[in-house]
C-alpha cells in the first residue's frame, strides 16, 4: 500500500511555477497586509508564458530540466518539457484540481489520481501543495510585520500565520522582502514548534515583459538533507493573448508545440 515517496513525488507533474510569476514587487507599503495583498493581486496575471530551467539536486543525482509553461487564470496550467531529450515532449495539463500527463513514448494521456497530487513535482522539492496553497495565500493567512533575527537593515519581515482550519501544514511562514521595493528575498516556513521546515531564496531580479521579478528561486527543505531545487526564468511574458485551446486534452496529446 505504501508507495515510495520519492517515486510518488516524481509521478506528479505539479505546477509550482506561477508562485514566482506572481511575485511582482511593490512600492512602499508599510502595512504587512497590504504588502501581501499586493503581491497576491499582482500574482493574478491573466495569462503568462515562460521558459524555465529547473535544476534539482538530491544526494543521488543532479539534473536540469528545461520547459515551457503556459498559464491562464489561477486554475489552468500547461507545461511541456523541452530538455533533456529523454523527457522532451512530456506534457502536463492542470485544470483546477484535475491533472493529466502526456507520455510521448506510450503516446498516452494519464490522469493523475487527485489523492496523489500532494507529492513533489518532477522529483523537485516543490509540491503541488505549494501551488494549491499559494494562490489563496492572502485569504489563508493572517499577517503582521515582524522582525527576524537574520533580518538585514534593508529588509522588512512579514510573519504569516495560517487561519485556523485551513489545510496548511505550516505553523508560520515568514517572508522577508527588500524594504526599498518589497522584492521578496526569502520565505521560511516553520512548523508550530518553530522548527524551520523549508526555506526559499529569491535572487537575481530581472525584468520580463515589463515586470521586475526575482528570476531565480532556490528552495531547500530543511528536513531533507542534500535536497535543493533551483528554478530559473529564462524568458517570461505576462498578460498576452492565449487561446483557451492550449489548456485542453487535445492540445496535451499533440506532440508538437502549440
Amino acid at each position: 500500500m505504501s508507495l515510495h515517496r520519492n517515486a510518488r513525488r516524481a509521478a506528479l507533474f505539479v505546477l509550482a511555477l506561477s508562485i514566482l510569476a506572481a511575485r511582482v514587487p511593490l512600492r512602499s507599503q508599510e502595512d504587512a497586509r497590504d504588502i501581501v495583498k499586493k503581491i497576491d493581486a499582482l500574482y493574478r496575471a491573466e495569462t503568462s508564458r515562460a521558459l524555465v530551467e529547473m535544476a534539482i539536486v538530491t544526494p543521488h543525482w543532479e539534473r536540469t530540466l528545461k520547459m515551457r509553461v503556459w498559464s491562464m487564470g489561477m486554475d489552468k496550467t500547461f507545461i511541456r518539457i523541452l530538455e533533456p531529450k529523454k523527457e522532451s515532449g512530456m506534457a502536463t495539463l492542470r485544470v483546477g484540481n484535475e491533472m493529466w500527463n502526456y507520455l510521448p513514448r506510450s503516446n498516452r494521456v494519464m490522469r493523475v489520481p487527485p489523492s496523489m497530487m500532494m507529492g513533489s513535482w518532477m522529483g523537485s522539492d516543490f509540491t503541488n501543495d505549494d501551488l494549491v496553497k499559494e494562490y489563496t495565500f492572502f485569504d489563508s493567512y493572517t499577517f503582521e510585520m515582524a522582525r527576524s533575527e537574520d533580518e538585514a537593515p534593508e529588509e522588512l519581515t512579514i510573519s504569516c500565520v495560517p487561519r485556523e482550519g485551513l489545510p496548511i501544514v505550516w505553523g508560520r511562514v515568514v517572508i522577508s522582502v527588500r524594504a526599498s521595493d518589497h522584492m521578496p528575498l526569502r520565505e521560511k516556513a516553520y512548523d508550530e514548534r518553530g522548527r524551520l521546515a523549508r526555506e526559499i531564496h529569491f535572487r537575481e531580479v530581472r525584468t520580463f515583459g515589463g515586470r521586475r521579478i526575482p528570476s531565480v528561486m532556490e528552495l531547500a527543505p530543511k528536513t531533507k538533507e542534500g535536497h535543493k531545487t533551483v528554478l530559473r526564468y529564462l524568458e517570461a511574458e505576462f498578460n498576452i493573448p492565449l487561446d483557451k485551446s492550449v489548456f485542453t486534452l487535445q492540445n496535451l496529446r499533440r506532440r508538437s508545440r502549440p
Partner: protein, 404 residues
C-alpha cells in the same frame, strides 16, 4: 544381581510389564508423532506463507525494510549470487526491483508498485507462476509484458491483452514512462498487494528505472525452515557489501511470526500436558504394581535385602521397561513420522490458493521430536516411580507376609 532380578521380574510379570511398557510406549510414541507433526505442520504453514511471496530470507540494504527507497539497492547482485552459490543450504534465490509508479490503462489510472523480477527464478523460489489466475507469465527480457494483481485489474478495468502505461521516476532522477502489455492477472491471496502490484520482467524494470544491474532485494529460500536463521547469518557474514543485510522471515514477517509463535506456544503447553498424562499413567501402573507386590518386597526384605536395593530394583524394572518401550516407540514413531513426512495427510484435494499448497500436511523428521519425549518420558517415568520405589523399600516384611 539386582539387575538380573529386575530383568526376570519384568519378564515374569508379563501382563503388568506389558501394561506399564505400553503406557510409556504409547505416551512416548504419540509424543514423538505429536512433535513431529506439530513441527511439520507449522513449518509447512510458515513455509507456504513465507515462500509464497516473501521468501525465507531477504537480502537488502540495511534500512530498506523500515524505509524502502529506490536508491537503497544491492549494487552488485552478481557478487551476492556468488556468495549464495557458495552456501550449500541455499535452495534458490531471486532478485527483485521495487518502485512506486503511476499506471494507466484506458482512461483509468492508479498508483501502483512495480515489482521487477525474473519469472523463472521467481517461479522456482516463490512459485510465482502458480499465482496466475488469468493469462500467462510475462516473457523474457525486452518483452515489455506485465502481470498485474487481481484488484488492480479491477481498478483499471484491464486484463490480458490490454496496454498498461507506467510513469515513474527513475534512479537517475529522470521521469520514466513506457508502455507495457498485460499478459496475466495474478492473485497472491493478499488483497492489499493485489490492489497495487504490477510485475515486470526484471530487466525491463531495471531499464525503466535506470537501475542498471542494481536490484532492491534478493529473496532467498532454504530447504529446511529451521535453518533459516543460521543460513541468514551465514549469508550476512559473507555479503560483499557492508551496507547489505540478510534478514530472516522472522524479522520481515514479524506479525505473522508472532502469531505463529503464539500458536506454537499453545502446542508446547499441549506437550506439557502430554508429559503429565504419561507421567500420571506411569505413576499409576508402577504404584499399583508396587502395591500389589508388597508381599514380594516383604520377602526380599525378610531374606535381608537392604531397602535401597529394593528401591533400586523397582527403579531398574521401570528403567528396563522404559528403555524397551522407548526403543520400540522410537521405531514406531520413526515409521509413522516417516510415513507422514512422505505422504502427509490429505485433507483437501489439490487445494491451492495464491500459489500456496493446502492439500497435504506433513510431519517433519527431526531429532528433537525424539529427544524431547525421550528425556521427558524417561525422566517422568523414573521420577514418578521414585515414590512407589521408596514405598517398596520401606515395606515392613513381617506385616506384609502376615497379611498375605
Amino acid at each position: 544381581m539386582v539387575l538380573r532380578m529386575a530383568f526376570r521380574n519384568v519378564l515374569r510379570q508379563k501382563r503388568r510389564s506389558v501394561l506399564t511398557g505400553l503406557t510409556i510406549f504409547g505416551g512416548f510414541t504419540l509424543a514423538v508423532i505429536f512433535i513431529g507433526w506439530a513441527d511439520g505442520s507449522y513449518n509447512n504453514i510458515i513455509d507456504e506463507f513465507t515462500r509464497n511471496r516473501l521468501g525465507h530470507i531477504q537480502i537488502q540494504e540495511k534500512t530498506y525494510f523500515d524505509r524502502p527507497s529506490l536508491y537503497k539497492t544491492v549494487d552488485d547482485p552478481k557478487a551476492v549470487s556468488g556468495v549464495l552459490k557458495g552456501i550449500p543450504e541455499v535452495e534458490s534465490w531471486s532478485p527483485r526491483v521495487v518502485s512506486a509508479a503511476l499506471a494507466a490503462s484506458g482512461d483509468k489510472s492508479a498508483g501502483i508498485q512495480i515489482i521487477g523480477l525474473d519469472p523463472e527464478r521467481e517461479a522456482e523460489t516463490t512459485r510465482f507462476d502458480r499465482k496466475i489466475v488469468r493469462g500467462r507469465l510475462m516473457a523474457g527480457p525486452g518483452s515489455k509484458e506485465a502481470v498485474i494483481g487481481r484488484g488492480l485489474a479491477d481498478i483499471l478495468k484491464a486484463g490480458p491483452g490490454d496496454d498498461l502505461a507506467l510513469l515513474t521516476q527513475a534512479a537517475d532522477g529522470s521521469i520514466a514512462e513506457d508502455l507495457f502489455r498485460i499478459t496475466g492477472v495474478l492473485s497472491t491471496g493478499d488483497d492489499m498487494s493485489d490492489r497495487t502490484s504490477v510485475h515486470l520482467n526484471l530487466k525491463d524494470a531495471q531499464n525503466l528505472l535506470v537501475l542498471g544491474d542494481r536490484v532492491h532485494q534478493i529473496v532467498v529460500t532454504v530447504p529446511a525452515l529451521g535453518r533459516v536463521p543460521a543460513v541468514a547469518r551465514a549469508i550476512d557474514r559473507d555479503l560483499p557489501d557492508p551496507s547489505l543485510r540478510a534478514v530472516p522471515w522472522q524479522d520481515f514477517a514479524r506479525s505473522f511470526y508472532e502469531a505463529m509463535q503464539a500458536d506454537k506456544a499453545g502446542l508446547w503447553v499441549m506437550l506439557v500436558v502430554i508429559v503429565v498424562i504419561v507421567g500420571v499413567g506411569v505413576l499409576n501402573t508402577v504404584l499399583m504394581s508396587v502395591l500389589e507386590r508388597r508381599r514380594e518386597y516383604g520377602l526380599l526384605k525378610a531374606v535381608g535385602t537392604k531397602p535401597r536395593h529394593v528401591v533400586r530394583l523397582v527403579l531398574l524394572e521401570v528403567l528396563i521397561l522404559s528403555l524397551t518401550a522407548v526403543f520400540v516407540g522410537s521405531l514406531v514413531g520413526l515409521g509413522v513420522n516417516a510415513f507422514l513426512a512422505e505422504h502427509g495427510i490429505k485433507f483437501a484435494e489439490g487445494l491451492t490458493y495464491g500459489g500456496m499448497e493446502f492439500g497435504t500436511m506433513r510431519s517433519e523428521l527431526n531429532a528433537r521430536s525424539f529427544a524431547i519425549p525421550l528425556v521427558t518420558v524417561l525422566a517422568s517415568a523414573l521420577l514418578v516411580s521414585l515414590v512407589p520405589a521408596l514405598r517398596a523399600g520401606k515395606t515392613d516384611p513381617a506385616r506384609t507376609m502376615r497379611l498375605h
